[in-house]
Structures are given as structure tokens and as C-alpha cells.
């Protein structure tokens, strides 16, 4: 299943919708690395990130029929599937229990660097570093933890309006940063 061919986005979507293995292979080769890095930034553990990535690609393959190019680019669609799957994983019982065990282990051995891959300096993390601390916390809670604005207002004990404003400003900065 070599994916030497190159596709325009439109052709790729057409090929994927007709369940073309070669197109799917191309999709994996081109996007798995980026999606994996986003997943890893959310779930932290490489092992879990691998499981999530597998789930994500199987879901992409299954749900490609429901992808609507009018609503956004293919990458955006896949990015959101990845982020949602990662956040679902964060909230799963298995993950929470694992984290508790991890915390105990970390407390015992006094280190939290052992199991977490160093993801500083990539993607969103790099952008987050440029934000003001009060904005950064909110973006982390919203994007990497999946909390709603209301939940963040409760967690941080700040008015909902402030949460919205800070997130909005941070997102507008993101646009500038990405230029």
C-alpha cells in the first residue's frame, strides 16, 4: 500500500468516499504524524495516544461519508475528530484511574518527567507559550481539556463574560501568530 500518489483535496475526499485503500494509506502517511502530535498534547501518554490515533483513523474511515466539504477542510474535520477522541479518552474511567496510579508513582519517585513525552515547542504548545498566563490557562482548559466556558468559569472562579473575552482575545492572537 505505497502512497506515492499525490491528491488534490477534492480527489482525495472522492477516493476516500469510494473506500479506496490507496487513498486511505496516503491520508495516513500525510496526516497521522500531525494528528498524533495533537492527540499526544492532550492525553500525554504515547501509548494511549497510539490507541486514540487508531480509533481516530478507523472513525475517519467509517465516517468519511458524513464529511461535508462545505463545512470545512478535511484536515479541520480530522483535527476535530482527533481532539474529541482525545478528550473522550481523558474522561474515560480507565484513563482517570491510570492517572491516579501515575500520580501515586510520581509521588513515590518524585518525578513527573518519566512517562510524559516532551511536547514543548510543538504546535499549540508553542503558541500557548506566547500567551499571557491568564489567557494560557483558559485556552488549555478549553482546548486541551475540553471544558465549556461555563465549566471554566466555575473552575477558575471568574465571571463567564471574562472567560469568553479572554478566550476570544487569545484566539484572535492565535490568528496573528499563525500568519
Amino acid at each position: 500500500m505505497a502512497s506515492s500518489e499525490t491528491y488534490s483535496e477534492q480527489d482525495l475526499v472522492m477516493a476516500l468516499k469510494s473506500r479506496d485503500d490507496q487513498a486511505f494509506s496516503y491520508l495516513y502517511d500525510h496526516y497521522s504524524g500531525s494528528l498524533y502530535s495533537i492527540i499526544l498534547q492532550i492525553v500525554k501518554s504515547p501509548e494511549i495516544a497510539g490507541d486514540v490515533l487508531q480509533e481516530v483513523f478507523i472513525n475517519i474511515w467509517r465516517k468519511i461519508e458524513s464529511y461535508d466539504p462545505l463545512r470545512g477542510r478535511l484536515f479541520t474535520w480530522m483535527l476535530n475528530i482527533s481532539r474529541n477522541a482525545s478528550i473522550d479518552m481523558l474522561r474515560s474511567k480507565g484513563y482517570i484511574n491510570n492517572q491516579k496510579n501515575q500520580e501515586i508513582t510520581d509521588n513515590v519517585y518524585g518525578s513527573d518527567q518519566v512517562t510524559q513525552t516532551n511536547i514543548d515547542g510543538i504546535g499549540l504548545t508553542k503558541f500557548l507559550e506566547k500567551l499571557k498566563p491568564e489567557q494560557r490557562v483558559l485556552i488549555e482548559l478549553a482546548y486541551l481539556k475540553g471544558y465549556t466556558h461555563e465549566e471554566i468559569a466555575q473552575i477558575e472562579d471568574i465571571p463567564l463574560g471574562t472567560v469568553k473575552t479572554r478566550i476570544r482575545n487569545a484566539l484572535l492572537q492565535l490568528r496573528v501568530y499563525l500568519k
Binding site: Q54, E55, G123, R175, L178
Partner: protein, 272 residues
């Protein structure tokens, strides 16, 4: 809000990154349909994100690709593509788990069959056991009957062998209602106990009983009444210290104080 203001409200970024609420998203999609500027702004931001993230790769574990392809390969074999698109996003079991599940099922089935077999065997054993118990009870019962009979015969033999036993034969009288009758008294000369052996007597009618008499100094003395059911065995009656003769008469049930002479069946004199 005009499209330009709307674009700068942060909704484009929220929507693309999946941070917008469902209501805001729905509104954004309406705005995209209505205003090409909004759509263009969305597309521009999407490209920015994509360009930025597409170069930020971390290599996932190498085995993942083949794992994913083997799974979608299996799904392809199962269902036509049109249906798959609408199936809920379940995470399929990994290969090993399938084998474990299949193996468990086989083991369960095997266990069920084994249990059925063992249950059948158990039921058979129970039936056999009950049969054996019944047979055993039957044998034990028969054995007891034999024991009792044997004891009776041993006692009888003991009496006959006893050298102190005087034997008084009582043949049927010529005037007896049954002249061929015969009975024998075994009289222990030392303990004076009297045992009767009925050799032959007709069965009495239900309201009558035979009675044995000893003739002492010419007078009849009651030795006791007896039934005929104890066939071929010695009947122990009263102790008689002295007698010249013994006789049996048929009397009313319960016996009489004096013998009915015309109902005398047998009589024998004591010799010596």
C-alpha cells in the same frame, strides 16, 4: 452585526478549533452560507492551522498503520460501504481480544456440554444407587427371615437333642374327630417345662382353639392353649411337675377349665 465584525468576533477560530457552542456553530454555518466573506475567513484560518500543524509531526508507533488497515479490512469484508458510513463509532475489538472471546465461547460451550454429560451420569448413578439400596433392603429382610427360621430350627433341634427330654407321643384316638392326628410332648424331666410339637392336626375353625391337658392323678390339668400358625416348631406351654398322660382337645377360644371329652383329638401316656 455585519460580516466583517462577525469575522473579528473570534467565532471563526472557535468554530474551526471545535470550541464553539452548538448554537454558535449553527449560527456560524448559517453565516457561512449567507456570506462568502465569512466562508473565506474560515477557509483562510483553516489553512493557517493546517499549514502550521502539518509540519509539526511526531511519528506514531509504526505498528499502528498495519493494525488500522487490518481492522478496516475486516470491516470491509463484513459490510457494504453504504451501511458502514452510518454505523456508530464503536471501537472494534483488537485481533487478540477476538481470539480470546472466541476461545472463551468455545470453552463455555465445552463446559456446558461437559456439565450436561456429568448431570446425566449423576442421574444414572443416583438411580443405580437407589436400586442397590432397594435390593440390599430386600436381601437384609430375607436374611432376617432366614435367621429367624434358622434360630427356630436350632432351638427345636436343641430340644430334641436334649438327653433330659421325655418324649410323649400322642396318636389320634379311634373316636377322635380326626383319627390320623398326631402330636408330641417334649417334657423336660429336670425343669418340668412342657414343649409341644404338632405333627398333624386339622386347622381349627376361627372361634375354636386347641388346648393341651396333663392327666395328673386321673384329673385333667390345663397346660395351655395354642395356635396352629407356628408350623413345625415347638410351642412352650406351662410347667407341669407330674403327669401320667397328655391329651389335646378342641375348646372354645381362650380355653376351658375342663376338657370337652368328645372333642379329644390325641392322647399319649407318659412312659417310664
Amino acid at each position: 452585526m455585519n460580516p466583517q465584525e462577525y469575522i473579528l468576533s473570534g467565532i471563526v477560530e472557535s468554530y474551526v478549533l471545535g470550541l464553539a457552542s452548538p448554537e454558535d456553530s449553527a449560527e456560524f454555518e448559517r453565516m457561512c452560507d449567507a456570506h462568502h466573506e465569512v466562508r473565506a475567513a474560515r477557509n483562510a484560518f483553516e489553512l493557517q492551522v493546517e499549514q502550521s500543524l502539518i509540519h509539526q509531526k511526531l511519528e506514531p508507533p509504526r505498528v499502528l498503520k498495519s493494525r488500522i488497515f487490518s481492522e478496516i479490512g475486516m470491516e470491509k469484508d463484513k459490510q457494504p460501504p453504504g451501511i458502514i458510513a452510518n454505523t456508530p463509532a464503536l471501537i472494534p475489538r483488537k485481533g487478540f481480544a477476538r481470539y480470546v472471546a472466541a476461545a472463551s465461547l468455545i470453552m463455555l460451550l465445552g463446559s456446558v456440554l461437559l456439565n450436561l454429560y456429568l448431570l446425566d451420569q449423576y442421574k444414572k448413578s443416583i438411580a443405580q444407587y437407589k436400586e442397590l439400596i432397594a435390593t440390599q433392603t430386600q436381601i437384609a429382610g430375607a436374611n432376617q427371615v432366614m435367621q429367624t427360621k434358622l434360630e427356630t430350627y436350632e432351638n427345636a433341634l436343641g430340644l430334641m437333642k436334649n438327653p433330659k427330654m421325655a418324649i410323649v407321643k400322642m396318636p389320634g384316638m379311634p373316636a377322635s374327630p380326626a383319627p390320623s392326628s398326631m402330636a408330641t410332648v417334649y417334657w423336660n424331666t429336670e425343669s418340668k417345662e412342657v414343649y409341644l410339637l404338632v405333627n398333624q392336626l386339622p386347622m381349627p375353625v376361627p372361634d375354636k382353639q386347641y388346648q393341651l391337658w396333663a392327666i395328673v392323678n386321673g384329673h385333667p390339668v390345663d397346660v395351655g392353649i395354642f395356635d396352629m400358625d407356628k408350623n413345625f416348631s415347638f410351642i412352650k406351654l406351662k410347667t407341669i411337675p407330674k403327669a401320667e398322660a397328655f391329651a389335646i382337645t378342641l375348646e372354645k377360644k381362650g380355653g376351658s377349665t375342663t376338657p370337652t371329652m368328645d372333642a379329644m383329638y390325641v392322647m399319649g401316656k407318659v412312659t417310664g
